[in-house]
Every structure is written in C-alpha cells, then in structure tokens.
C-alpha cells in the first residue's frame, strides 16, 4: 500500500525545492576547512605505508622483515594474511606488507628493506584478445539467452528452429550489419585514495574512513577485528570520490586498526596513487561481435551477439542479462557472454555498473546501421523506440525519449549540423561529426532514517547516517527541510557522516537523494504538524488552515493570524522537539520513484592527420522526476559528462602483455580529460509535470552512461569509419583510418 500521508508541493508553490542555490558547505570546501579522511591527523599518529606486489602472478616464497624492522623510525611491520609464504598473488599491486613508522619517509624506506622471494607464475592480462584468452584457458562461458518472436512448433527441435529462424530473419532483413565494438577497462581513479585513520579508546575503535557507506562499514570493521559492532564508530565528513569503489573498509583498513591495536597508537594508512589504481577498483572491459538485421525503415528485427568481458582476476564482468543490447529490445535476439580471467585487480561497481559499457558496444552498432542506410542516426534511434503502447525498448517510456531527443536536437541544432557519415566538409585535415546515444537507470530511494531536532529557539538540525559523496547531499537535505518548514535553507544544520547516526543506506545506485528526501520530508512534515497543533491552539484556528512559509506559520493570506517561526518554536517548551523520519527501500511512496531516461548528443572535430579528437559541443537532456537541488543536480550531470568524455577519449588501464604490469598506474600516464578537452557542455533537465509528479529519483549515475557511445558515433559520422574500441586515442583513430584505406 502506498503511504499517501506525505506529498510534495506543486511546482508553482515551492519556495526551496528545485531552486538553484549554493551549497551550504561550499565555503567550507572551497576554503579548505572541510576535513577529508586524508586530512585527519591525530595526536601521536603513526604513518603506515604498504608494499604492493611488483608481479602480476606469483607465489610468495619467503618474507624477511628483520632489516626493515631496524630502519630508524619504523615502529611496526604487518604482513598481510593473503601474502604469507606459500600464498599465490593474482595481480600486481596486491598488498604484501604494511609498515607503520614515525614518518612517511621512514615507512617507505622500511618497505624498501623487506626481503621477499617470489616464484613467478604464468601471466595473462590481454582481456581484449578472445583467441589468446581461449588459448591460455582463461575464457569461460558466462551464459546467454535467445528469444524469437515466433514460437517453435510442438514437433520442432528448439535449437534447429532458432537457427533456421535466425537465418530466415537475416535473409529477410534489408540491412545486415556485422560489427565489432569494445571498451577497455578503466579505474575509479578517486582523487582521494582509499584508506583510513584509526584510533582505539580502550576497546572501542574510531575509524575515519574514506567511504560511501558509513552506516554499513562499522559492521565490517567489527567482523574483521572480532569485536562488537557497537564498539566501532566510522566517520566520513567529506570524501574525495568513491564512484562505487568505497563500500568497505577493505583489508588494508582493517589492517590499520590491527596495527593501531598492536602499537597502541593511532594509525593512518592511505593507499598511494599507484596502489589506488591497481587494487582499489576498476570498471570491467567489454568487447562485442554482433550481427544485426533491420527492415527497410531501419527497425532492428534480429540481434545476434557474443561479448567477452573481464572483471579481472576474480572473474565477473559485464553481464549479457538486462543490458545487451542496451535499452533497445529487438523481438528476436540471441546473446552470449564469455568471461575472461586475467591477472589484474578485481572489478568494483563503477558509476552505473555495466551500463556505460553496454551502451558503448551496442549503440555504436545502431549508428553503423544508420551509416549503412545513409540515414540520419537520430531518425534510426527514433524509429527503434516504438510507442508507449508498443514498446521496443526497456527503461523510460518511448514518449519520454522522443521528447528528450527532440529537445536535445534543438539544443544541438542537430538538423542543421547533420551530414551523412563521412560526407562532411573538411577544413584542412579537420572533419566534424554528430552522434547520439540514450540511457536508462533505476535510482529508487534507499533506506534512510533521520532524527530531526527543532529547538525552542527556532534552530533546526538533523542527524542522518548518510554521507555526502561530494554531490551536495547536505544541501539537498537542507532544501527539503526548508521547503517543508518554510524557513531558509542556509540556517539548517545537517549532521551526517557517522555510523553512530540513524542508519541510512550506502550511497550507491543513485539511491541517496531519494532516501534522504523521503526520511526528511516525512520527519519535517510530522514535526510541522506537531508545531502546527501548538500554533493553532495559540491562535485559535484550525490546524489544517495553517501554512508554513517565509519563516512564519499562520493562516494563509491572514498576516494577523500567524506567528513567526521562532515564536512558534517557543511553544515547544523547554526541550527540543525530536522527530524521526524513516523510509524503507521498496516502499511505494508518492515522494519518490525510480527509472529515468536520458539522451546525449556529441559534436566532435577530428584531425584526420593526427587522429586527435576534440569535443566541440555536448548536449545532455535528462529526466530525474522531481528536482530537489537544481544546481547540484546540474553539477552531477556536468561531472558525469566530463567523466564520460574522459573514458571515451583518454582513460584506459594499460596492462603490459609481456609482464602483466599495470603500466599507467600513475596520473602522469593515466590520462584524464582536462578543462580544455570537454568543449561546450549544455545540460537540460527534462522536468514537465508528468515527470515531476513522479517524485524524487536518483541522478548520479545515468548521465555517465551515454558519452562513450555518443562520442564514438560522432567520430564515426565525422570520418565515415568506425573506430571500434574506446577510448578513441589518436593511435586507434589512425589505425582505423589505415585499415579502411582512408589514411
């Protein structure tokens, strides 16, 4: 049953919701007063640094720590359990030992004195190369699915029927595309690496952890340390990036606590950049071979694909289920998946897990269909949407995508800029091109609890065990409270970032904004009702005639029948009013919802002589239900696009086939987009009443999905040649041109 006691005000009646405001912690962050985990310095703290395994695949034969222990300043040497002699190390960078010392320099020097004997084992890191993976016995079947519109007859052999049906469908297709597409693995590359500063007070642990999960990591520390969870407090006031990789304390966080327990001193252990990139998470690679058939209108009738993917040494990767082909759902399809096991660090959830890869390897095929037809790509995308009554897609409604595509096309001036693939005019060696892609995401509200405290002097504060992943959660919460209580958002104190606060869900899956909006709208509505009863009694009016606005509570339109917010709060009595707000994930609610759509278009310039690609303009149209904090929502979209441009043009994990080494594990070599690389980004939130009335839906992930495909399609439109694998480096662009005989 939907709980209808709560609701949002109409768009024209809002005072705070959806307004474009500055962050309440903006000055704190810009001035450096905001404390990140990396900034935490505790009295008598030891600095711990860890040694990563230099080899991608080996056995630890022996470890001699005796010399390291004698290095001046070294206090404690900790050998990780998984690196004890006899253990097999499966990827470069896996931590072998940590040394806690009086200084960073002493810790590093201590590490250099560890004497470790390795037995080298066979290495495989070439996840793009299916044949090599099969030859090395590193490829395993990851399942698949086939579906045909026609059913086999009772007497038909099912396999033979499907084979015959696919053959017929391809034969009847006006256009058949055989394509290969791929996207390399990238890392999370959090600006603030993973790690913790920990201190014991008796048998109680205080852990400053760089995490997107304060309410869930206390249990994990407790489990690793064999102590009670209520003896652990995890704090994270601010975080320098997580992107899905920081849900756990990790074994190095637990080790910091063990070293602290052994030495009796606080310990700081943060990964260095090289370790951060090598072991603290990456987004799986994915490569796909596909044959698709379409009718004369470019509507896909049949899809037949095999993709291979790698989540590193521990398996996994991009699943076929739910994302291949992406968003579009042809009536006839056959898809299969192969998982490749490598000697590279294990994958972690990366902003919209699996969607960016799936979009990049399938929406490119649809663009190639348009190229083959000599058609405008936008028209082919539109024709494959279907209608709300006869959908050809999953995710958001076709009518929503249609409206968003039209809006994006107008902002891009698509029709004026469009030219058939490879047929644009060149300026010197520079050609331009347009591309688009579409995406979807869930973003339903997570669990969230809060305690809202309203003091008799009118001050308002809330306590919530969520965290601000850098997106402006404090500001969004303040806006919800401001809207509900009718007071300015700037004076509201938002306390979050501790596991001792009311439990809230981890910030993953774009679920935070829904969760905290739910709990706070509920708590504030309930609190206001209580204050309203007191005000009604004082004014001698019915409580249901009262409204809270402009820092007053009173009868609407009757200024003489009202009290100021402070006067009203004075009625609470001597002690603050405390109200709890709770939301359980999955509860139907008029306040929040799930499933969004989005459309992105890229206009690029490509220098055919150097293979260098530049973004000229990028348009993103995104729906997200009701917008809570408009400026912060727009910032999320800008950030996602910049991140998407980075993985489309620059980012890739480069693993050396010969040694298995992760070669570009420093920011010197790990290329990211800079301000000069991102072009003119136009962000438009699609929020007609039909979307707004759905309630709050998460936004953090969806806008990062489409950039890869949109940019690849734009480059293909510019060159008339597909550069099959992302990122589109100059080398790959030149090699694709050469292969096509267009160099």
């Amino acid at each position: 049953m939907a709980d209808n006691s709560y609701s949002w005000p109409k768009a024209e009646e809002t005072s705070a919701l959806g307004k474009r405001v500055n962050r309440i912690d903006g000055v704190e962050k810009a001035s450096g007063r905001a404390k990140y985990t990396y900034d935490i310095q505790l009295p008598k703290q030891l600095i711990a640094r860890a040694l990563g395994c230099p080899h991608a695949h080996c056995k630890i034969v022996s470890i001699d720590t005796s010399v390291a222990e004698k290095v001046p300043g070294v206090v404690h040497v900790h050998v990780f359990e998984k690196a004890k002699p006899g253990s097999e190390i499966q990827w470069q960078g896996e931590l072998i030992a940590a040394i806690a010392a009086e200084s960073d320099g002493a810790a590093v020097e201590g590490l250099s004195k560890l004497k470790i004997q390795y037995e080298m084992l066979e290495v495989f890191v070439d996840d793009a190369n299916l044949a090599a993976a099969q030859a090395a016995n590193r490829a395993t079947k990851g399942g698949g699915k086939e579906q045909t519109e026609r059913e086999p007859g009772d007497d038909d052999d099912e396999k033979e029927f499907v084979t015959a049906e696919f053959a017929r469908l391809f034969k009847e297709s006006k256009y058949v595309i055989d394509g290969f597409y791929g996207i390399d693995a990238i890392t999370h590359c959090c600006l603030e690496p993973h790690g913790a500063t920990v201190a014991w007070n008796g048998d109680k642990l205080l852990a400053y952890l760089s995490t997107q999960n304060v309410s869930g990591t206390d249990e994990q520390f407790a489990d690793g340390l064999k102590i009670a969870a209520d003896d652990v407090e995890v704090r994270c006031e601010h975080i320098g990036g997580g992107f899905g990789s920081k849900f756990a304390p990790d074994y190095w966080g637990v080790a910091a606590a063990e070293i602290s327990r052994a030495t009796g001193r606080p310990v700081k252990l943060m990964l260095d950049r090289d370790q951060e990139l090598k072991i603290a998470g990456n987004r799986p690679s994915a490569y796909l071979k596909v044959k698709l058939g379409a009718d004369a209108n470019g509507v896909i009738q049949v899809w037949d694909s095999e993709h291979w993917t790698s989540g590193g040494a521990t398996g996994g990767g991009v699943p076929h289920n739910g994302v291949i082909p992406y968003v579009f759902e042809p009536k006839n399809y056959r898809r299969s998946q192969i998982n490749i096991q490598t000697n590279l660090g294990p994958q972690r959830a990366w902003r919209a897990p699996n969607h960016p890869q799936a979009c990049a390897i399938t929406h490119t095929a649809i663009d190639d269909l348009a190229a083959r037809m000599g058609a405008d790509s936008m028209d082919i995308f539109l024709r494959n949407l279907g209608t709300d009554d006869a959908r050809r897609i999953g995710g958001a409604k076709p009518s929503v995508y249609r409206a968003e595509i039209e809006l994006a096309a107008k902002l891009m001036d698509w029709k004026a800029k469009w030219h058939p693939h490879g047929k644009g005019a060149a300026k010197g060696s520079v050609v331009d091109g347009l591309g688009l892609a579409i995406h979807t995401w869930g973003g339903g509200a997570n669990d969230s609890n809060c305690n809202l405290k309203i003091h008799p002097d009118g001050s308002v504060e809330t306590f919530c065990g969520t965290q601000d992943l850098g997106v402006g959660t404090r500001t969004a919460i303040a806006l919800v409270l401001s809207e509900t209580l009718g007071i300015p958002y700037t004076g509201i104190k938002v306390n979050l970032g501790s596991s001792k606060l009311p439990v809230s869900g981890p910030s993953g899956g774009s679920t935070t904004i829904g969760g905290v909006s739910e709990s706070h709208r509920r708590a504030a509505t309930d609190a206001l009702a209580k204050i309203g009863d007191l005000v009604a009694k004082k004014l001698g009016v019915a409580a249901d005639t009262l409204v809270a606005a402009n820092s007053r509570i009173g009868v609407k339109g009757q200024p003489d029948k009202s009290l100021s917010w402070k006067e009203a709060c004075n009625l609470i009595g001597m002690r603050p009013l405390e109200v709890t707000g709770s939301f359980k994930r999955g509860t139907p609610s008029p306040l929040s919802n799930s499933t969004v759509g989005g459309v992105q278009m890229a206009h690029v310039l490509v220098d055919k002589d150097t293979g260098v690609v530049k973004i000229n303009k990028f348009v993103a149209v995104q729906d997200m239900g009701l917008v809570v904090a408009r400026k912060q929502a727009e910032s999320q979209i800008y950030g996602a696009i910049i991140m998407g441009i980075a993985s489309a043009l620059f980012e890739q994990r480069i693993a050396d086939r010969a040694s298995g080494a992760f070669l570009n594990s420093e920011l010197r070599d790990y290329k990211l987009a800079r301000l000069g690389d991102i072009g003119d980004i136009v962000v438009e939130i699609y929020e007609p009443e039909s979307e707004r009335s759905r309630g709050v839906i998460g936004l953090g992930e969806p806008p990062v999905i489409s950039p890869g495909a949109a940019i690849s399609n734009a480059v293909a439109n510019a060159l008339g040649v597909r550069v099959p694998v992302l990122p589109l480096t100059p080398q790959r662009v030149l090699e694709a041109l050469q292969k096509a005989g267009r160099a």
Binding site: V612, D656, R668
Partner: protein
C-alpha cells in the same frame, strides 16, 4: 623516500664542491617537479641533494651585445614566458606554452626541463633506465617509445619539450665543473667551464651507468645560450592527445633562415621520437632553396621519417612525427597548419 643530506649552496663553486664529493651520490634539485617524484618512488636515491635555486648567477636572464640570450639554468619557465627577451624565439615560447600547466611553468626551470629524466613507464616503474636492457620495451607495451635511434638498449624517448627548439635555434649549454682540463680554461683545480652545442649535450645511454646527457655527476649546467633569432623563422608543433600537461605523442621544432621567399638554411628537430632530440638532416636538406608551401612541408615531413624504425606497437608515431615536422615548418613560415 630514502633519507638524504640537503645542501643549498649560494655560489657556483660551492655547488661544484658539493657535487664533486665522489663518496656520496648526488642529485641536483631546481624546481623539483621531476626529481621529487622520482625520489618518492625511490627510482633515484641520492645521498645528497644539492638545491641550486639559491645561486644568484643561475637565475639571471641577460641579452648580450652580440645578440645572444643567456638564460640561467634556474630561471623558471613562466619567467621566460613573461620576458620580452623571448621575442623572436617562437619555437621556445610555443614549447613552453604547450606544457599547459601553470604549476609546471611556475615551478619548473629551463635547466631542469632539458635535464628531466625519461617518462618511460618501465623506467618509472623501477625497471631501470633502459628497462631491463631494452627488453621491457622491445617485448612489452611500447606505444609511446622511440621510432628512431632505438637499435640499442635505450628505447625510451627523450622527454624535453624545449630541447628540440633549442637545438633548432643553435643554442649552447654552459657546463661547469668536472671537466677540468677539458674545458677552454679548465686547468686542474679550477672550475672548468665550456660551452657545449646543445645538440651534443644529449646522448643515448648504452648501459645503466650512463645518463641521457653528457653531464658528469660533478658537473652543473649554469646557462642556456641562444644566438640572436634575427632572420630565423621558427616554430614548434606538438601532437598532443588532449589539452592537459601530458607529454606530446610527437613534436618538431623548425628554424628556417630565410633568403627572401626561399629557405637559405634550415634545422628541423623532432621531439618525443628518440632517446635524444632527433635532428633530421634530410628534411632540412629538402627545404634549402625552396619556398615553403604545403607540398614542400609535406615532402619534408616525409623525408624526416623515411628512416624511422618503429617498434611493435608504435608505427602510428611515424605518421605523427611526419605531421609534426610538416606543421612546424608551415607554422615557422607563417602558414596555417591545416589541423588543430
């Protein structure tokens, strides 16, 4: 980082004394943009670090009556960019601007820029300057490695972005110390001093004990000396993957001595393609006596890379080097480059 002794001399001779003590390994510190990172990763582990920023003579910028520009080795790149003396040295200005990082420009010095260590990921990953005698790059991922001069163990590319311009413009380097007896006034016991043509300053190391310059541990670069740019049309063109401070994929600097519309003499030097900056005589020869247009520049680019010997994964760099040469020549002659 290994513990080290830190010294901050205030004179050239004091610096040489500190560097000349053969009982300790030394490194010269200027802006530190390269050295500090290498020390933190323990790729270089000096016993003593000699900071030369406090030596006044190394921070001067002087135009002499003969038109030469003497640039102190510890002059920062942003100081150079701001200097009116850099007028006419377009190839140098463009190379410094290309670094695209105010931090590097403000902190980095010209001496440090030309003496920076290779960016090679095998070297920076702790596998030696030559990367296991060249085997790491020969058998491994060499997409950013050399396409010229790579027949020996050194497969890395020289990283300096300004050196090609300095060579093209005919610069020299004032080196002091160590070479007592070798320099023009270097009697034993005195501070040796000599001006080395900058093209001869760089070398391809053959083994791990050699470095990428001829500088001995007890020597110091004090000045870069540029001849007058009068009558020299010059430019640098870098092929960059993005607008960040990342190193170019290929680069070239061109200096053309013009005789009316025609090229009387030329020097074309490629960067990021070999273990040293790579002077292309063939491209220069092709330009002599001709006026510059796109066809001539294209032919010079082609000539520049005719003898390239790419490794297993970097053939694309041959095309990029060709384009860099072509565009540097066009830019020097004041023509549009036709690309970004």
């Amino acid at each position: 980082m290994k513990n080290f002794e830190y010294a901050a001399p205030t004179t050239e001779s004091e610096a040489l004394q500190l560097l000349g003590d053969s009982s300790v390994s030394t490194e010269i510190l200027a802006g530190g943009t390269d050295l500090v990172g290498l020390m933190k990763k323990m790729i270089v582990t000096p016993d003593r670090v000699v900071n030369i920023l406090g030596i006044p003579s190394l921070r001067t910028l002087e135009r002499r009556v003969d038109g030469q520009l003497w640039i102190g080795a510890a002059v920062t790149l942003d100081t150079l960019l701001d200097s009116p003396y850099l007028a006419g040295y377009d190839a140098v200005t463009q190379a410094i601007r290309g670094i695209n990082s105010m931090q590097f420009q403000c902190q980095g010095t010209i001496g440090g820029e030309i003496c920076q260590r290779p960016q090679c990921w095998f070297f920076r990953g702790g596998r030696g300057l030559l990367g296991e005698g060249g085997q790491a790059a020969a058998n491994g991922d060499n997409r950013y490695h050399a396409i010229f001069g790579n027949d020996g163990p050194a497969k890395f590319v020289h990283s300096s972005r300004i050196a090609p311009a300095l060579i093209a413009l005919g610069a020299a380097v004032r080196v002091i110390g160590g070479a007592a007896g070798r320099g023009p006034d270097g009697a034993d016991g005195e501070v040796g001093e000599r001006l080395v043509p900058i093209a001869e300053f760089f070398q391809t190391p053959r083994h791990e004990r050699q470095r990428e310059t001829i500088l001995a541990p007890n020597q110091l670069v004090t000045h870069i000396v540029l001849p007058s740019p009068a009558g020299i049309a010059n430019a640098t063109y870098e092929v960059r993957h993005g607008e960040g401070p990342d190193y170019p994929l290929a680069a070239a600097s061109a200096a053309l001595r013009m005789d009316g519309e025609r090229v009387a003499d030329a020097r074309i030097v490629m960067g990021q393609v070999a273990p040293t900056p790579w002077n292309t005589v063939a491209a220069a020869a092709l330009l002599r006596g001709r006026s510059i247009d796109e066809t001539v520049a294209e032919a010079a680019g082609q000539a520049a890379v005719a003898d390239a010997t790419p490794l297993s994964q970097n053939a694309y760099k041959v095309q990029l080097a060709k384009v860099a040469v072509k565009r540097a020549i066009l830019a020097a002659a004041g023509h549009p480059t036709g690309g970004f």
